[in-house]
């Protein structure tokens, strides 16, 4: 099979980008989408043109490095997989495939299809952890956790931090990302002590980074490569309200960082 790709090229953050169209060489339908880009890049290199910059690393759907909006959908046509797990068998011979970077104000474009997702790290730094110094932990079986609670925590923890949720949302909201982390930690006994500070601080960091609000369209969970459910957004809202109320009854607001 052969395809054409209409791909976003942009030299750097400051410059203005635009689409360019390239023909693929003969492809095998068992190739991954990124392998298709690899072979086009080999051709471009041989012709002395700069290869298309795109992010990738593990190529097995777990590191969250790959991005790309393919034909208008973050991570491509299939549900529940990342771009690196998308295969050419999902396309037809002769297709023209549009490939763009994740677009969201908090994620500036570095080059071509590569964006900077640093604000996600900032949010985690604000509260996405349990404060436990190395060496200070009790025996792991000292705190039994019901299988149900552990399973829900795992569902939330499966997030790979790719940012597709933000790219899919017209408001560039990061609530699915934040909701998943908050739900994981706030749902576990280990996370109780910092429950309120966690949610308040993470939401504050999210706002500060310029992510928008959730208006319940749930485009985010629809494109999530790990199918993280938007129930975690509801959980985030509940925890946030409860924490806000509890804080208002305290004489002094707790400081952000413990």
């Amino acid at each position: 099979m052969k395809v054409k790709i209409k791909v976003w090229r942009q030299k750097n953050q400051e410059s203005k980008g635009g689409f360019k169209v390239y023909d693929s060489p003969e492809l095998n339908s068992n190739m991954s989408f990124l392998e298709m880009l690899d072979v086009i890049n080999e051709d471009l290199t041989d012709q002395g043109e700069e290869p298309i910059a795109f992010d990738h690393d593990c190529r097995e759907g777990i590191c969250g490095t790959c991005s790309l909006v393919i034909d208008g959908k973050p991570h491509g046509p299939h549900q529940g997989v990342a771009t690196c797990q998308t295969y050419m068998r999902s396309f037809e011979d002769g297709d023209i495939i549009t490939v763009e970077p994740f677009r969201a104000d908090p994620f500036p474009i570095i080059k071509d299809l590569v964006v900077n997702r640093k604000p996600f790290d900032k949010i985690i730094q604000a509260g996405g952890f349990v404060t436990v110094r190395t060496g200070s932990a009790p025996d792991a079986n000292a705190i039994p956790i019901s299988k149900e609670v552990a399973d829900t925590a795992m569902d939330a923890a499966a997030c790979i931090g790719c940012g597709a949720c933000v790219a899919a949302c017209k408001n560039a909201s990061a609530m699915l990302f934040v909701g998943a982390k908050v739900s994981q930690l706030n749902g576990l006994p280990q996370g109780q002590a910092e429950k309120d500070n966690r949610v308040l601080n993470m939401v504050a960091a999210m706002d500060e980074a310029g992510f928008g609000n959730c208006t319940n369209q749930y485009e985010c969970s629809a494109v999530c490569p790990k199918l993280i459910t938007h129930d975690f957004i509801s959980q985030l809202n509940r925890d946030f309200v409860a924490a806000t109320v509890r804080k208002s009854f305290k004489s002094k607001p707790s400081t952000a960082k413990l």
């Binding site: 068992n30 290199t45 290869p51 932990a137 009790p138 923890a157």
Partner: protein
Amino acid sequence: MKLDAKIPSGPLKEKWEKYIADSKLVNPTNKRKYDIIVVGSGLAGGSAAATLAELGYRVKCICFHDSPRRAHSIAAQGGVNAAKNYQNDGDSVYRLFYDTVKGGDFRSREANVYRLAQVSSNIIDQCAAQGVPFAREYGGLLANRSFGGAQVSRTFYARGQTGQQLLLGAYSALSRQIGLGTVEMLPYTEMLDLVVVDGHAKGIITRNLVTGEIDRHAADAVVLATGGYGNVFNLSTYARNSNATAIWRAHKRGACFANPCYTQIHPTCIPVSGEYQSKLTLMSESLRNDGRIWVPKKVGDKRAPGDIPEDERDYYLERKYPSFGNLAPRDISSRAAKQVCDEGRGVGETGLGVYLDFEDAISRLGESVIRERYGNLFDIYKEITNENAYEVPMRIYPAVHYTMGGLWVDYGLMSNLPGLFVLGEANFSDHGANRLGASALMQGLADGYFVLPNTINNYLAGQLGNRPSTDHASFDEVEDEVKETINHFLNNKGKRSVSSFHKELGNLMWTYCGMGRTKEGLTKALELIPQLREEFWKNVNIPGEEGEWNQSLEKAGRVADFMELGELLCRDALTREESCGGHFREEHQTGDGEALRHDDEFASVFAWEYQGKGKTPLLNKESLEYENIQMATRNYK
């Protein structure tokens, strides 16, 4: 060079305690006067950076990814071992120690491995407290599974994403410190060289991958936790960007490289399907708990698996190793797969594959139990191959997965270069010639959370005030060299892409230094690699510019290092005239095709010392003394 492992005296059980008791301490107010650079943010680097910062040191952590959460530890699927004996099945620190030494084919240090087994339990406690969602039983206690090379159930897991969850745990601890301002995190930053001042590692040179800027960083100690070098084979289960540059440049600045030929070929990966392939995907070893491995008995049997009757199937692992069966260690299982394929009994289009069949497990336990245990792995398999493993058996074949070799370190994880510490897969220390499943996560976290934070003080205590300024002449020199290399690449304007060279090198390594190695093949490789390297420097084509994001340029530096490391790997394999663990020299095998060690001559660590460009490296040996375990022929029958 005399390599002193500095193993504490006294009985095995008390060595670590004694080491800590005898250590020099750095007083709390002095700790903040020390700068430590940690390169890498995976399990080892992330946990080390977080813990050192908690202790009060000033830490700078660098990674080439956009975020410290991306390191390839994240892809580990199966689990993490610990001698908790929660299952009451006879496990103990000693048994984990013994299994690991035996699994490593008696080529690791007893004292290191014992310590690893000792701290393994603390890792589980630490991670559970961080909120790592380990699998639980209905009563709420932690669940375990079995892994290859062990007859007890000591592996803790979080679905098929244990590496991800442990890494995110370490990342959360690191993030907390970054938020507190005790760790300065530099993402998008690649270490390009090590700076040595008066014989001590005192800094690094980095390139900012976004802006192309070259920077100098001085420190009191440098910690490398940059992972393994399996991408020297090009096709592997490693992430595409995993590379050996940090450890290789450190090697060229004086750090000995130990046992480079100990590479692990993992038995259960999805077979290669074509030329274009960019990476191989692992199917977790945990699948071997319930899957049965087989090939047809008849050579060239092309029938569909379902059409091959039971008595015409060869469950070769169960046949050859009845007591471990499908859970035989990785090196042994991989070799057995290669053997049956070499005999012409391999399956799939290429004939390079064997079946991993769940039919029995599904009829015994029901599909839903199998789905619960391995659902995500079956999904991954489906995406890649377009086949449903609930209905037809998986096809698997061995692939490069891990490197046991790495920079030489002493008991305190310091290399022969004072001030340079090496953790996790980047060092050579704990797995001997073969690593057991679920032991990489254990070692990475042991090194980072519990070992280094108790050993680095021994070095630092004598170093207050010795941190050089970045104006020191050594920084000038190293930076010039780094820039020269970059300029060469960009101005070369050759005819071939970096990737084409990487592919060629990988093919060469896999052909001559893969699962079966011979004197003839290795000698050939030692002729071909330098030729390829010469062609690479002459003819490589790097488009783009210096002062910007340039993935071809990044890759060129990494492939340049693989070209040199590959040669050392082959030289080590040629020099080690025996078979052990993942290193199989065809000339050295027993009558029934098992690895044949020669303990009299080779019970030692080979630590290679760089001698300069174009010169043969110098071989130093550290002999391995077994005081507690009797070396024996590994037997999994």
